[in-house]
Amino acid sequence: MSVPILNYLVLSAVLFSIGALGVLIRRNALILFMSIELMLNAVNLAFIAFARQWGDVAGQVIVFFVLVVAAAEVVVGLAIIVNIFRTKETVDIDEIDLLRG
């Protein structure tokens, strides 16, 4: 018995929304990162679901790309956060407002 695609998509949408909400309301940079990961994985889920639905491996290939890019992004992002923490002694993103006009 196969689960209908709608279920995957709803789950994906819910996960994405939780991630987006997390990005919007949390102040800890680490949590922010986790939320971003959640959003990426929500999208991955949608890709996989579509790949199965249409029998097209392109969706799965893209997921691999996303995973690789996300890993790289996390490396860079965490490095930045560590550096910021060293100078500002905080990871509260509201304290980090160097770009304010």
């Binding site: 987006a20 919007l24 922010l32 980090i96 407002d97 304010r100």
Partner: protein, 636 residues
């Protein structure tokens, strides 16, 4: 003849060497390069002349294309040189007299700190003048025309730390520019009419294209004449030349007497084909020429500055040349150009020798006097120059001036002739006046401090050479003996001109001999009066003196022309500039620019609120954007 380009290139090389390396070279090398380049150029010019003479009379036109200069659709200008009798004459004057003045400068400028700069510019001037003379099209002529103006500016302002010299240089540049404006429009008109700048093409087509006496021909020639008026210091643009005397004296001799200022005369002689199609322009040229000849001579009567007297005299003599070209006697005009170059270079250089003797830049004749014993050579050559310019036979000035007056009379313009004759009287008077004031009477300089001494040989020899030319130059054209190699030489250039054969005026009221006698008498009268006043020292009755006082004041103040121009042009110009710089630029333009800046600034300030610096705000914006796009896609 193929080597004519060498004449042109040598002074340019000299200018480059002295200009780039001169400061590091010893003075001896600088003078060697400067005088050598012009001297060798003179030899090449002589060679070109001899080549030209070997050709049959009517084949004496040689063009040499050095390279294509401007190649474009509809306009093709070549950098090419034209050697014909007319340019050969100018070539010899420029390099010959120029060489003598270069040599003289070695002595005169010997003590100057900027020795190499001086010679570099002097050489550059020689190159520019040669370019002007050798050009075979109007565009190249114009390049030379502007380059000599530039060199004139640079050399008038040679001692640029002196405010009077700097402002004189500026004045010369700006005033000639007024004429050049007309000249340029004339060139545009020429190009619009003929589609080319080539002399030979234009002169060939002119009689077919331009109607005789038509508006177009008149306009072109008058506009070209405007350029000549500026460059050759004629009424109403003569005011720069007296001030140009702020430059070193050899510069006055070379640029402001012998060569550059005669460029206008040369230009008209060169384009005589066009002028002959515009009788009105010819009349204007003659009228302005004779008016300037008289007017400038009156101002020379009372001036006390030896160089300025010579400057006014130059203006006056240039007037004679224009008179000659205006009545169609081009050869006579060119002959006066040559003879004036000899005499006026001689006079200026002798004046420089006097200034040198008095230890610097003393030009006021009221502080000279009695120098004859101290400066025997200078005094003699100055006298020769003065007598020559006055028109005393057998000096060269007698032949050329008499020729112009004679041709004027024969052309039927008795009024012009009378004014010219009157100017000749004045010429003789002011020349001898300056001679007597400088060399005769009691010394008026400070004898305790100043010890006049004759100039060194390097300055005297050029004077002797010019004096010899002044004495023997008349051989070129002894009019009453019908011996005129000069005229014969130039004949192919001016053939078909208005200068009709003498037979065309059988009904002349006075014979050539009478005219000759009259012009000598005129010169004699002027000299006699000068002698009466300055040597005999006749006392004038008080009444007469008072009667002439207003006239004297008027002349002494140069007819207040400078003041008039200041009031008419300089002051309004300054006001306009102040308005443009103040109300217009600072107020309006700056206001607009600043206003735009302020608006952008305010906009940026408002927009910068969006940039809160909170990452979450940016994320929210992105999300909102993504949502809006989604909604749009969904609703579509």
């Amino acid at each position: 003849m193929e080597l004519v380009w060498v004449v042109l290139i040598l002074p340019l090389l000299g200018a480059l060497i002295n200009g780039l390396l001169g400061r590091r070279l010893p003075k001896r090398a600088v003078s060697g390069v400067a005088c050598g380049s012009v001297g060798v150029a003179f030899l090449f010019a002589v060679n070109a002349l001899l080549d030209l003479l070997r050709l049959p009379e009517h084949e004496r036109v040689f063009t040499q294309t050095l390279f294509d200069w401007i190649v474009s659709d509809g306009l093709a200008a070549k950098f090419s040189l034209l050697l014909d009798p007319l340019s050969a004459v100018m070539l010899l004057v420029v390099t010959g007299v120029g060489f003598l003045i270069h040599v003289y400068s070695v002595g005169y400028m010997g003590e100057d700190r900027d020795y190499s700069r001086y010679f570099s510019w002097l050489n550059l001037f020689t190159f520019s003048m040669l370019l002007l003379v050798l050009a075979d099209n109007f565009l190249l002529l114009f390049v030379g025309w502007e380059l000599v103006g530039l060199c004139s500016y640079l050399l008038i302002g040679f001692w640029f730390t002196k405010p009077s010299a700097a402002s004189a240089a500026k004045k010369a540049f700006v005033v000639t520019r007024v004429g050049d404006f007309g000249f340029m429009i004339g060139l545009f008109l020429l190009f619009a009419t003929f589609g080319t700048f080539d002399y030979l093409n234009i002169f060939e087509e002119a009689p077919q294209v331009l109607a005789y006496g038509g508006a177009l021909a008149t306009a072109i020639t008058l506009l070209l004449f405007a350029g000549a008026v500026g460059k050759s210091a004629q009424i109403p643009l003569y005011v720069w030349l007296p001030d140009a005397m702020e430059g070193p004296t050899p510069v006055s001799a070379l640029i402001h007497a012998a060569t550059m200022v005669t460029a206008g005369v040369y230009m008209i002689a060169r384009t005589h084909v066009l002028y002959e199609l515009a009788p009105l322009s010819m009349a204007v040229v003659a009228a302005i020429g004779v008016a300037t000849a008289f007017f400038a001579a009156t101002m020379a009567l009372v001036n006390n500055d030896i160089k300025r007297v010579l400057a006014y005299s130059t203006i006056s003599q240039l007037g004679y040349m224009f008179l000659a070209t205006g009545v169609g006697a081009y050869a006579a005009g060119m002959f006066h150009l040559v003879s004036h170059a000899f005499m006026k270079a001689l006079l200026f250089l002798s004046a420089g020798s006097v200034m040198h003797a008095l230890g610097g830049e003393e030009t006021d004749m009221r502080r000279m006097g009695g120098l004859r014993a101290k400066l025997p050579y200078t005094s003699t050559v100055f006298l020769l120059g003065s007598l020559g310019l006055s028109g005393i036979p057998p000096l060269v000035g007698f032949f050329s001036k008499d020729l112009i007056l004679e041709e004027t009379f024969l052309s039927g313009n008795t009024t012009l002739w009378l004014v010219g004759l009157a100017a000749a009287v004045l010429t003789a008077f002011y020349m001898l006046r300056s001679h007597f004031l400088t060399f005769y009477g009691k010394p008026r300089y400070d004898e305790a401090k100043v010890h006049p001494h004759e100039s060194p040989p390097v300055m005297l020899w050029p004077l002797f050479a010019l004096a010899a030319l002044t004495v023997f130059g008349g051989v070129l054209w002894i009019s009453f003996l019908n011996f005129a190699p000069f005229e014969e030489f130039l004949k192919p250039v001016f053939e078909g001109g208005l200068l009709a054969e003498e037979e065309a005026h059988p009904a002349a009221a006075l014979s050539t001999g009478t005219l000759l006698l009259l012009s000598v008498l005129a010169a004699g009268l002027g000299i006699f009066v000068a002698w009466l006043v300055y040597i005999r020292g006749i006392t004038v009755s008080e009444g007469l003196r008072r009667a002439f006082r207003p006239l004297y004041t008027l002349l002494y103040n140069k007819y207040y022309v400078d003041e008039l121009y200041t009031a008419l042009f300089v002051v309004p110009g300054r006001k306009l500039a102040e308005f443009l710089a103040g109300a217009f630029d600072q107020g309006l333009l700056n206001g607009i620019v600043n206003g735009i800046g302020r608006i952008i600034d305010a906009l940026g300030g408002a927009l910068s609120r969006v940039e809160s610096g909170y990452i979450r705000a940016y994320a929210a914006w992105m999300l909102a954007g993504a949502l809006i796009i989604l909604i749009y896609l969904y609703l579509r």
